[in-house]
Symmetry: C2
Subunit: 196 residues, 2 copies
């Protein structure tokens, strides 16, 4: 694009980042060109360090730079919250009212994308439950088709172990306008209505 | 954020990129965590290479990895197109009907931001014209307040040299709808109307 080999190479790497197009990648690259040498070297080192030091926690599958992540090593495993991705853990941790452990599936079942039970971390979840101590599993996969299907599939697998299986409640969002709620959500909210 | 030092450090560097917020920086970082070691090392090297090899062309001020950029070393300097930033050169080069050289100001005059004539590359432009051979200077700064002011300021400076000074024509955009054109643009388009 610029006919400058090292610049075009950098733009190419930036444009491989998720949802980054050609123009954005170029802006990022120009930003780097204008930065002091030390800053760019530290940025480069940060890339390598994160990629080298960070791996999956051997219990829950979340990112950590230790063998076992901080959450797994400090909390009891009586309640396990099953999520699709590491970023879901951050979202739930922000709420601060969940004090159990997590299990990250790293994906959802998706026959269309050829993603079956062996492609996500279901086996690891079953092993954790077989080891004992788990009283409740909260299925916190996304409330979309794939998330629902994955939650249903896993809850069937877990039935024989006799643990309590729950799902995040679904309904209208707090602070939203009923007028604009979609039909499926509204139907679910009416069906699951609670006495006050 | 994640309480993992090397991950948080990488997220921090990503969030320093232009227009990148916390969530986007996190997505970029997670993308890096999931990439093979070799890929990330090449990305890191690309950052350093671009920052080390690429600098300003000593004639026009555009980015290059040589002493003089490809455009300055292959084209005649009888017409010089003055732009604000290197990315403007890319935009004009795409059109393929301009065959002259460029001059990159690296900014516009902006008293509010304390940016005066010495903060952008006006001196370098005057030197190029003093060296001779320049017949026309096209002012292609943005058609906004700062771009207009900069174009006016420079054209006054250039007057004594006797070179022809032109400005990109302004008017309604091709393919646009007159109904939605802003008033200033429409007023200019009427004022600058051409006989057909």
């Amino acid at each position: 694009m610029n006919n400058i080999e090292s610049l075009d190479r950098l733009i190419n790497y930036f444009s491989n980042l998720p949802s980054v197009g050609a123009k954005t990648a170029q802006r990022y690259a120009y930003f780097i060109l204008n930065k002091p040498k030390e800053y760019v070297q530290e940025f480069a080192q940060a890339l390598i360090d994160a990629n080298t030091n960070v791996h999956y926690c051997k219990i829950c599958g979340n990112f950590t730079d230790k063998d076992v992540c901080d959450i797994c090593s400090t909390r009891k495993n009586n309640v396990i919250c099953v999520v699709k991705e590491p970023k879901d853990v951050l979202a739930i941790e922000k709420v601060k009212n969940f004090k159990g452990q997590y299990h990250i599936l790293h994906g959802t079942l998706s026959p269309l994308d050829n993603r079956g039970p062996d492609d996500i971390k279901i086996k690891e979840l079953l092993m954790r439950i077989q080891e004992g101590g788990v009283e409740e599993v909260i299925m916190a996969t996304n409330p979309d088709v794939e998330g629902e299907a994955t939650a249903m599939y896993i809850s069937k697998l877990l039935k024989p172990f006799g643990v309590k299986i729950t799902r995040l409640s679904q309904g209208v969002s707090m602070g939203s306008d009923i007028e604009y709620a979609d039909e499926v959500t509204l139907a679910r909210a009416i069906e699951d209505r609670k006495e006050i």
